[in-house]
């Protein structure tokens, strides 16, 4: 069992995307899902308690080793990157896609009140947004949705973890 724990640790470490329990089961074979989940939780606890630079995080339907947030300034210095991955305009477009998906460009523009083609293209390039089909209305506009990478980047287990959108109360009330 101790050995299985090391194998799981090595497997999660060796992947550059979150590894799901199912995928680990495919690789490990005879071990059952519950045992794998216990191992993962055990590793998570160990890394949390030992106060090192790493932690095991659960996100986007899987597990992944990450650096702890408090060390981000150091790593940015090492990698030479600035902390602005997404502009406010891109964040707004991404939010509309996330909550209204599948959604067309025209629908996003109606909500944001501006042309969103630029920010939409940036999000497609960053693989945060993808084309999910066409809407069955005249002109058959393309519909967009979020990707698994979106979950990964924003530390979400799934879409249901998104913060709730404030209800719009009607004017008459």
């Amino acid at each position: 069992m101790d050995d299985m724990r090391s194998v799981v640790e090595a497997l999660v470490f060796a992947s550059d995307t979150p590894v799901s329990v199912d995928r680990l089961k495919d690789v490990l074979g005879e071990v059952d899902r519950k045992a794998i989940l216990e191992i993962l939780q055990d590793i998570e606890l160990e890394y949390r308690q030992r106060r090192g630079g790493l932690c095991l995080m659960e996100l986007a339907g899987g597990y992944q080793f990450m650096t702890k947030t408090e060390f981000s300034p150091w790593i940015r210095k090492l990698r030479g990157i600035r902390p602005v991955p997404l502009s406010p305009a891109a964040m707004e477009t991404l939010s509309v896609v996330a909550y209204r998906q599948p959604v067309t460009r025209q629908e996003i523009e109606k909500i944001r009140g501006v042309d969103v083609s630029g920010s939409l293209k940036g999000l497609l390039e960053k693989k945060l947004v993808r084309i999910v089909g066409r809407k069955n209305v005249p002109g058959k506009p393309i519909m967009y949705g979020t990707t698994k990478r979106f979950l990964e980047v924003f530390d979400l287990k799934d879409l249901s973890e998104l913060p709730t959108l404030r209800e719009i109360t009607e004017m008459e009330e």
Partner: protein
């Protein structure tokens, strides 16, 4: 006038309007249109004076504000029932503002989340660890990448080749495919509906060319019940007939 705010920080006309409402501590459900319209237009003037790129959407909202303001100045007609009182000219604008505001809040809260490559970092696979493509590998590709690849191919072609396979011909074959797709579902299509679905002049031309091309290829037939009646497009052959 003292403007301590930078003018290019707004994400659009709705954002500017929300800013004005907040700055004046106004009730979003009861916006004083005269005040807000005046300040909104002042901001546009400032943006113009500073030579900021003033997107058309700002002007559209300006026109909307002026329109709502003028409607509110109209005297309430005699004998208006309660049903009509509900028709506040501001209702649609308020709904739009609230919806936008909700998304703006959500965008801010997303931005506060622990973000990859900003707050946390994962391991970057060293080059030698990136595996070769195994034969039975699953594929992870997106449509966007496919079309970007095609765009790059087209962009690299010389002008001469472009004449042969140019973007217009691509649009034409797109339109042909769309019409065929619609026909297979609808049995027949009216000519005017086909044209109505085309929103730009260019796409009207493509639709016409596509129909002509399909008729030339004897794939579709056009019928007209009387000399000035609607023209309808039908598939030229029955689907079941084979060879």
């Amino acid at each position: 006038m003292s403007y301590e705010v930078k003018l290019d920080i707004f994400e659009g006309p709705l954002d500017l309007l929300l800013y004005l409402i907040r700055k004046n501590e106004l009730d979003i459900y009861n916006i004083p249109m005269a005040l807000v319209t005046e300040q909104y237009l002042e901001h546009l003037e400032m943006m113009k004076a500073l030579n900021l790129d003033l997107a058309g959407e700002y002007l559209v909202l300006a026109a909307t504000l002026i329109h709502i303001k003028s409607r509110m100045l109209l005297p309430v007609e005699e004998g208006t029932g309660e049903a009509e009182e509900e028709q506040d000219p501001r209702a649609e604008l308020v709904r739009q503002l609230l919806e936008y505001q909700a998304f703006k809040e959500v965008a801010l809260s997303l931005d506060k989340r622990r973000m990859l490559d900003r707050d946390v970092f994962k391991r970057v696979l060293p080059v030698e660890e990136i595996p070769d493509e195994p034969e039975e590998a699953m594929m992870e590709v997106s449509l966007f990448e496919l079309i970007e690849a095609f765009k790059q191919v087209v962009e690299r072609m010389d002008k001469e080749d472009l004449l042969e396979i140019d973007t217009e011909r691509i649009s034409l074959s797109d339109r042909i495919n769309e019409i065929l797709e619609d026909l297979s579902r609808e049995q027949s299509l009216s000519f005017s509906d086909l044209l109505k679905a085309s929103r730009t002049r260019k796409s009207v031309v493509y639709t016409l060319l596509a129909i002509l091309e399909l008729m030339k290829m004897r794939v579709v037939r056009a019928y007209q019940s009387d000399p000035f009646g609607p023209i309808r497009i039908f598939p030229a052959v029955e689907e079941a007939t084979d060879g």
